[in-house]
């Protein structure tokens, strides 16, 4: 009897587990054509270009396209895909072959995905999307000598001690410091509250640097509140603490899903400070069922504005929307820029056809850190890289006005 119940319980548990795994994978994937296939097919028959030798560089991407973090991984996957398609359509001497492997946002799976890409013959690694897997993979690429460019893994741990790892996004401390400086210079908010996710490296990284910088330059941080993970649904305790402390600006270095709940719950309790967020907020306006009026007046730091009016952004947004039916966010834009950075760097190298991944890695490192190399992209113009692997580009603050971003 007891054994039977036990067995039944276990079966039910296993089934739930199976269902969960199934659902997330399904949700992330049904709406798009298999992107990696499109990439390989594109690059095969492209040899009709003309009198030069076509060199195909194999770029292997890693990111979560199933699981809790799938929304970020698919954005980097699709954004990069658009760049690859554009580059290959140029019929230039350099073509990109692109394969993207799922890491479910987990360290060990990311390392397996990386090894899979190694077997495939990748020459450059594009990824990972999230920080913790990226740190693990960067240690592997460093040892194996692969050039790695991540669109969105923003911790300094990703690049520290590794000459081969470069970032397209701001580092977390860099963003926290920039946020504090921006608030100081604009004089927004006399008393500042901070709510962040202390179970998340991205959120904690920004918050720690912000608080440290705020102390240094004399901003008045009156409340520091935390929550353990992004599955939290009730933020009234944290908001009440900020309200009681009299905060008239609340800094939210968090992702948009919890942030949307915070905005709604602040509204319910008649608490209307200025909310100020990091680049993780980007994407909130496109959430299903999100009431855009809640975000009115929200300030956020994002390198990419989908409402931008320049030709390149417009084309990118149109292509992305046509393929996937949603607006691209900064993850997608970072992914797009990564591919162009890799492509433009490869174009400047001599004798690339004979290079193996180690020589390519060293050549790219020399180029990226040389000081003369810069890339124009969707997330910044003439972006350069420091020796540490950090990108240097200007942070942009946007404000939500009538449901669209307005650059401040």
């Amino acid at each position: 009897m007891k054994k039977k119940t036990l067995a039944a319980m276990l079966m039910a548990g296993a089934m739930c587990f199976g269902l969960l795994a199934g659902c997330s994978s399904n949700g992330g994937q049904t709406s798009n054509p298999p992107a990696s296939d499109a990439g390989t097919q594109e690059s095969q028959p492209a040899n009709q270009g003309g009198g030069f030798d076509v060199v195909t560089i194999k770029v292997g991407g890693i990111g979560p396209i199933t699981g809790d973090l799938a929304q970020y991984g698919t954005a980097t996957q699709w954004g990069a895909q658009i760049a690859v398609d554009e580059i290959n359509a140029l019929n230039g001497p350099i073509r990109l072959e692109y394969d993207f492997q799922d890491d479910t946002g987990v360290t060990d799976t990311a390392v397996s995905a990386y090894n899979k890409l190694k077997d495939w013959g990748a020459q450059v690694i594009y990824g990972c999307t999230t920080t913790a897997p990226c740190v693990a993979v960067a240690a592997e690429t460093f040892a194996d000598r692969y050039f790695q460019l991540t669109p969105s893994a923003s911790s300094p741990d990703v690049t520290s001690g590794k000459d081969n790892a470069f970032q397209m996004c701001f580092t977390d401390p860099g963003q926290g410091t920039a946020a504090a400086e921006y608030l100081k210079s604009t004089g927004l908010g006399s008393k500042i509250g901070v709510i962040y996710n202390n179970g998340d490296a991205y959120s904690t990284g920004i918050a720690d640097a912000f608080i440290a910088k705020a102390k240094e330059i004399g901003l008045d941080v009156v409340a520091t509140q935390t929550y353990p993970d992004d599955k939290t649904t009730d933020y009234t305790v944290q908001l009440t603490a900020c309200k009681d402390a009299g905060a008239d600006l609340v800094f939210l270095p968090i992702y948009y899903t919890p942030a949307s709940l915070i905005l709604a719950q602040a509204k319910q309790m008649d608490y209307a400070p200025t909310f100020f967020g990091g680049d993780g907020m980007d994407g909130m306006l496109d959430m299903d069922g999100f009431n855009k009026s809640l975000a009115e007046g929200l300030l956020l730091m994002t390198p990419f504005n989908a409402a931008g009016t320049d030709e390149r952004t417009k084309t990118f947004v149109e292509t992305y929307q046509a393929a996937h039916n949603i607006l691209p966010n900064q993850f997608a834009a970072d992914g797009y820029d990564c591919m162009y950075a890799i492509y433009e760097a490869c174009c400047q190298l001599d004798g690339i056809a004979d290079m193996d991944h180690e020589q390519l890695c060293d050549a790219l490192i020399t180029l990226f850190t040389g000081g003369d190399f810069s890339v124009d992209g969707l997330t910044g113009t003439s972006m350069k890289w420091l020796e540490s692997g950090e990108v240097s580009k200007a942070p942009v603050v946007v404000k939500v006005v009538d449901g669209v971003y307005v650059t401040q």
Binding site: G18, D102, S112, D157, G205
Partner: protein, 371 residues
Amino acid sequence: MKKINKNSLNGFINYGIVIAAFVILQAAIGMGRLSNSLQSLLVPACCYIVMAVSLNLTVGILGELSLGHAGFMSLGAFSGIVASILLQDLVPMAPLRLALSMVVGAAAGALGGVIVGVPVLRLQGDYLAIVTLAFGQIIKNIIMVLYVGVDENGFHMAASSDHFNLSADGTAIIKGPMGAVGVTKLASFTAGFILILITLVVVQNLVNSRSGRAIMALRDNRIAAESVGINVTKYKLMAFVTSAALAGAAGTLFGLNYSSTVASKFDFNTSILVLVFVVLGGLGSIRGSIIAAALLYVLPELLRSFDIAEYRMLIYAIVLILVMLATNNEQFTALMGRVGGWFKAAGKRIAGWLKSLGRTESKGKGGTTNG
């Protein structure tokens, strides 16, 4: 000669399978026939095999449902990482440092096992499941806010970054939600193989000992076992702590296989994953756990090779359900039993044939000496 009993024979077959698998895989690596992606799966697969075998001790042999096995793995992983970094200068030899770290990890796991086990094992059934579930979450949340580092002033540990006053040239080992970064990779497939063998020796000898019989008696009928004077708490604790210690050692090996490890990896899902390995391999069957853990861990990675890579997690889930249905299907188990019977019959025939061969040979020998 004493006749080998069925249980120890079973045990020897398990050692044989593991050793054969190790030799074949090593040979494949040596000949360059094993792809990078498969090679990278060897160490984590070893960890999960140890996890599954050790959880089987709690769930299959002791008969108590534990939903927090990943918590012990987490304890082992982070304490092992800390130990390996602290020992860096004292013990320059990597395999020895790995072994010492694994001992520390096992001790941490065992300590966790005692802390959870002593109050809870007096309870039965569902209560243990609930408490172990909570334990797993607590460990995860503690490590997420834990800052550990070492500098010239010694060892630092704090529960938030404000109180973590590490000097500028100190090494931060665990950085709260960022987890442990910059870990020197020490783990190797050989170490994983040895850990599996040690696990098998410990678990199989425990199961076949007097204590093991007492543990199984508790599982089958607690009241009857108590009535013949078996100390319930002692034997339950024995199985539970052994299981936790082995999980801790597996965690250390896992943690030292990657340069970064985060606490959120060892969440409820990981506990359930290991439980799935145990249940699908067969409760109480050590060999089943080994095979199920190895196959089911590698499967989602193998599915990357096909065009259906986008659906690999969905397929993985379906495979799990199919295995579950198959192993619970009477006709299927009967079929497997028949297949097993053939093997057994064939084995007997070979054994008989060898014996008769030996007999004729010795007879022949006898003949010559006589002559």
